[in-house]
Amino acid sequence: MHVHKAEKIWIAFGVAMLAVFLATITTAAVVEGFVPPSHIQSIDPAKVAQTPPFDKPGLHKLADGAYEAYYVAHIFAFEPQHLTVPVGSKVTFYVTSTDVVHGFSIPETGVNTMVEPGWVSTVSHVFSKRGTYLLVCNEYCGVAHQTMAGSVEVK
């Protein structure tokens, strides 16, 4: 099969560009641990309220500057709705749903994950700036989806 020389150059350019992108995301994943939230842990959606630690949603301190936050998402609210964390702390969020699919997104940060009944999602973030951050459900979950929101206050 004959391929025109100009086309060979063009394809080589395109493939090289993609290779650079792939190398970048792969290096970020392997070296820096930048991978999309991919926790594999199942949970019975009917028994979330009885399953520790989701029976007590909220902030749990691990050490100075290190916290875990357990969230339960259900139509049309997050539990806890408001969270207060000290500035500079690393918070690992664990979120699950008791009913339908929800989203868990803090727009001004990199916190963004799907929340599905039957599964636990997890995502970490270091809050280095003070302020009140909006937390929203970013997957349609029903008639009052637009009201499903909360906040994270960084003091």
């Binding site: 004959h2 991919s38 199942s42 139509i75 009913d99 599905e116 009944p117 997957e139 637009q146």
Partner: protein, 555 residues
Amino acid sequence: MLAGRIDVPSDFAIRFSVAKENLLVLAHIYTATAALTLGALFGLLQGFARANWIVMPAEFDYYRVLTAHGVLMALVFTTFFITGLLTFATYRSIPRVRSVRLGWIGYSVMLFGTVMATIAIVSGNATVLYTFYAPLKAHPSFYFGATLLIAGTWFIAADIFLNVAWWMKNNAKTRIPLPAFLAATTFVMWIIATLGVVLEMLLLIPWSLGWTSGIDVGLTRMLFWYFGHPLVYFWIMGAYLIWYTVVPTTYKGTVFSDSLTRLSFIMLLLLSTPVGLHHQFLDPGISATWKWLHALNTYAVVIPSFMTAFAIFASFEIAARKQGKRGFLAVIRWLPWGNPVFSGPALGMLLFIFGGFGGIVNTSYSMDVLVHNTMWIVGHFHVTVGGPVALSFIGAAYGLVPALTGRKLFAPKLALVQTYVWFVGMLLMSTSMHIAGLLGSPRRTSDVTYFGAAGAQTWHPEMVTAAAGGALLFISILMFVIVAVGTRFRDEVADERPQFSFAPVDDAAAPTPPIFDKLVGWGVLAIGLAVLAYVGPIHDQLSQPHFLAPGMRTW
């Protein structure tokens, strides 16, 4: 082309057959137009609602409108246009006396399913959006209707395969004509993709009927996106068929290379399916390794699009040089920008530059965290399916309808202006959607003010611009409807029958390797790749303690 066959049909028999075929194709095109019109009205309401100009009443709320818009645009308009276009491409490039019965059965099943699902949505019984993520539980008629829409396309596919098989049997030594080859390859891909969503429906239907008590959320999502991404390529292959074989006829040009055209479609067939997890980068229950593999495959599926871009511009340039035009600007100026059959697809190509690069961002693994489920994604798929795909289909319709009916196009100037208004409207709307997404604005949400929260205030100006772009798009669609309806009712017979033909291959193009025509083999390979890409993630999920969700109606 007919020489060498024993049963050369008479001219009259062919003409009679063609008249029957035209009616079938027209039915597809006009049904697609109806879906586009209704979908556009719903789209306009959404745009205005998100700009806080109107509030949708509770009896006919935003999410019902959103579901109807998504289903009518992404599933109904696109599918009907493509089934019509591919049927036409196959029939015209394989002239014979044929029965169109299978085609009509397919069309009727598709239409029946569409009406059934649309009633379920509009009556408020299926406000589950076009992705129908379980455990949102719609009325069974929604799932039945959607399944019939898909099942109907299988009849169309069978009709196209039978025609191609007939050609191969009777013309063993000649290649499958290029348009028929592209149509058949697209449908092989489509069959493989739709098996996933039909399997999903086999889980959803008994559950929605109350026969099973729970649904596997992770599995249904995976099956949906196994189908959802090749669905995108189904649209794009329809548009590419127009770019490769129809657009050159508007400037008396040629297809740059027969073999590269076939190769790019084979690559799209092979690589469209093993990539679906890039829609689920943020899903729990799927390992980061599998997600990375799908990111890699998605990068690979960009390559045939690079090839297509080259071939299109090469075709422009070769034709321009034959007319003595040289240099970038001279070639651009020489192109028939005053012909809507050219301007539609060509403006679509310009939009696809944005769409393609946005797509590369989306598939860039951890970068998806910044844009997932934000308005960026909405901007992305509007500048792709609403850009190159819709504009190419509309542009092609301006050539196709007069050719099918023998009637003059009503208000051709309006048709031309329509394509430019669309371009401006889409650029405006999708750009502001992309920006809103980068600022964090969530998609699929009726009102993003969040009671005046500080973090949400930067989003509103973008939504206003998007609504203005949406209004332009709606005006553009009204222009298209005026042309479509006017052509039908003015019913003015053209002096000379308008032609809608396919471009010949460039003289200088080298012969195509025969292996490219082994469609069954490529199909088997594509299935193999799809199985390899999904067996791991599905196994990972099934090996965990497993819980079903009962499902509910939350609207």
